[in-house]
Point group: C2
Chain length 460, copies 2
């Protein structure tokens, strides 16, 4: 089929104004926030499930790759069309279809932005807990495709825990529904769980039934300072294994502390080898109890403990945490933060060991590594900054990232706790998953025998 | 292959004393607690993953069905070998391999009994939350295969929420590992979630990494009485949508109340159209707050509210709840409780409607239906008793159960919230799941192309 014929057919399905084929527009869809690149041939902006199904069916017939994209905030190239073909920009399908608070549920289209959903829920006293750093931009479809999470997953879990059901367009254009509004069912395989986190390689999500939670009445924040990250890691093991469930448990190492204090001096984080930021939410008395228990658990290991006494101070602390991504790049104006090897996860009790290994790797490859992240989940974000015009810096970065990945795997961890595999980390899946990767490939072949859905991703 | 040759080979793998082929022994494996029946040719009691893998590989080569079985407490025939072949009795693989409390995890073999695991955890201050009525007998393997839950799932979720990783023997005898001790990972499809709840049709679980939780410091129980089940259902919607998370939320209808009071008069449940039993757990103050909030939410709908003032009263109330299964059969000595159509689930806000429909169905088919169950999850157990020697009673029972199933599906519910599909409910999956059933079949064919794993179950 000629490209112009295909363009005609696509325009027939979604209308002329919803198809892009100009080089300038295509370029905008050729990357995300990772180093993965790939140029699409067409970008389609569907407005309905029927349009998605028709486009996918056409792609199936012609054997053309189809890659779904939300806001393009991904850090692994999950939405980048590495084998060309069609990009489905789902951002126009962004409605809240139903607010069903008697069932503690909402039904949404995948293009809705996380923060917009939460702004719509807030007046009713509810929220959707998964809160990645990109909340202000990322879409629910992206969260579902990557099983996204964020700071509060230590208490609230990941996106998976909030997806009750999905409408999915399969590789041949068939539309199926998985799950339902019934919160507990064992009728059949958990296809919902299979599609969540499959990064658009098995189907394209066009609708989701999500659980929401009642907003907590109260929150409180505690900062604990430590001589070094390993001691902070030990404190985390102690807090969590004593049964406390904080609503956030974050680590900032000394470089990150400096970066934040440099970026915004009025934040004034205490100087320390590492800081743990704990948040507890719930009723007033539960929060008071939780904070006291954390203080108690940390006291023998910390050099200082400071509780946020009021809402303003609490918000300043979280604002500081949210600055990290931007602040990292401010440490040295000649260097740029590059997202490679940045999302490892390890078992909780291996955190001190992994933190120690990271500092060894930093020395070995002579590259500064700043560590922050959701330490309460064992999820560490290792930030590396390089001169992006220097090939040797790239080499150091890639070698350090490779070693970080292999070290995480060797101690029972993962190369990606929340950012996704995409094209960036696919090469490690065989090492991490072993023969389970073969099962993934069998499933991929069964559901997408022509391999048109987001090819080149996740090692399948 | 001759049956005697096969027997020789099986004896070679597991030793003579771990193979049964006598009619008397085989009979014991031909049923569970449902109406599904099927006679195996061999029963094997493996003690290691290697033995399971060798048996499955042999079965794969010869095309012989293999059905795994835990304690046989299932209510849907999941462990019944309806197409004959080999039953793998997993109850000898019952070790706790590791207690890893720094990670809040345990590693177990599938044959361990739920209650034994919890007794082993208790001295350390931890527990494994899923608690089906059969806790004293059922195995973890059965819980995993069925994604079992029970009374506390309204707060703690189902077995799925506690399985971090599995060792699984696939249809051809390959052993894979899914997941790990790392609590958050997005590296690959969630195969763990695919195997959980797949009832042994995709692989046989030989090891599991499970999350455990710290035992709550305090519990409290509240009984609320209502004029009828529909009003109780409305109270449940009100409690849950106001953000309260009780650790149990159970309903007993008037028949069940009578049955319990008849079975054990000293329990002395209040006579009412329906009773809701709420439990709240957590810290002392959180429990006090939770109970007060539930009391408040129920006050305008209930005819009476009674809080258990001490541990003894609380335990008596739960003992009464646990009596239900036995008590149901005491109402009429000529009738026997039959587990058919007993496990529907509906969206929370449809509970009052479903309860009303159940009473209509009871009248239409002239069969008493007693309702109890985990109403906080929308999960209703409908108990029917018949004279099992009377064909007409069976006919009424089956018709009523069929209508209960179809009604649940028609209002967005499920035919099985926690007991499983097995052979008992497979016929409803197409109606409930639509084209998603085709995806299940594709996955089944991809992972078990010869169809040897638990054939005749789940509609695949």
């Amino acid at each position: 089929m000629q490209k112009t014929d295909l363009l005609d057919k696509l325009q027939e399905i979604v209308g002329n104004e919803r198809v892009s084929a100009s080089a300038a527009e295509l370029y905008c869809y050729s990357f995300d926030a990772s180093q993965v690149r790939g140029m699409p041939e067409f970008v389609i902006r569907p407005v309905s499930t029927a349009q998605v199904a028709d486009v996918v069916r056409l792609a199936w017939e012609k054997g053309i790759p189809v890659t779904a994209r939300g806001a393009g905030t991904g850090l692994a190239g999950g939405s980048v069309p590495v084998e060309g073909g069609i990009v489905l920009d789902m951002s126009s399908m962004n409605r809240i279809i139903e607010m069903d608070f008697d069932n503690l549920q909402v039904v949404v289209e995948p293009g809705i932005v996380q923060e917009k959903l939460n702004l719509a829920l807030e007046p009713y006293g509810f929220f959707f807990p998964p809160d990645p750093g990109s909340s202000a931009m990322c879409t629910l479809g992206g969260l579902i495709a990557n099983n996204g999470s964020g700071m509060r997953s230590v208490k609230y879990g990941t996106t998976r825990n909030y997806v009750l059901g999905l409408e999915v367009v399969l590789a041949d254009g068939t539309v199926i529904n998985t799950g339902s509004k019934t919160i507990k069912s064992v009728a059949g395989y958990s296809l919902t769980d299979l599609f969540v986190g499959s990064e658009g390689t098995l189907g394209i999500v066009t609708k989701a039934i999500l659980k929401v939670r009642a907003l907590p009445r109260e929150r409180s924040v505690l900062l604990a300072s430590f001589e070094n990250p390993e001691l902070a890691g030990k404190a985390v093991v102690k807090v969590l294994s004593s049964g406390i469930v904080p609503s956030a448990c974050e680590i900032l190492d000394s470089n990150i502390i400096d970066a934040i204090n440099t970026y915004d001096p009025k934040v004034g984080l205490p100087r320390a080898g590492a800081i743990l930021m704990f948040e507890v939410d719930g009723t007033e008395s539960a929060v008071r109890e939780g904070i006291a228990m954390i203080e108690d658990a940390c006291s023998s290991l910390a050099t200082g403990i400071r509780a946020a006494t009021n809402k303003k101070e609490r918000e300043e602390i979280w604002a500081a945490r949210r600055l990290v991504g931007a602040a990292v790049s401010r440490l040295d104006p000649m260097r740029t933060r590059v997202y490679v090897g940045e999302d490892i996860g390890v078992p909780i009790k291996e955190i001190p060991r992994m933190l120690h290994k990271v500092s060894e790797i930093s020395e070995e490859f002579d590259i500064p590594i700043m560590t922050y992240g959701h330490i309460g989940d064992g999820n560490l974000h290792t930030g590396m900054c390089i001169d992006v015009l220097d090939d040797k810096d790239w080499e150091k970065l890639n070698k350090a990232a490779d070693k970080i990945h292999r070290t995480a795997i060797s101690i029972g961890g993962t190369v990606t706790a929340e950012h996704g595999v995409g094209g960036a980390r696919a090469e490690y899946l065989e090492l991490e998953l072993g023969k389970a990767l073969d099962v993934m490939i069998l499933i991929k072949k069964a559901l997408d025998p022509k391999g048109i859905l987001n090819p080149g991703k996740m090692g399948v």
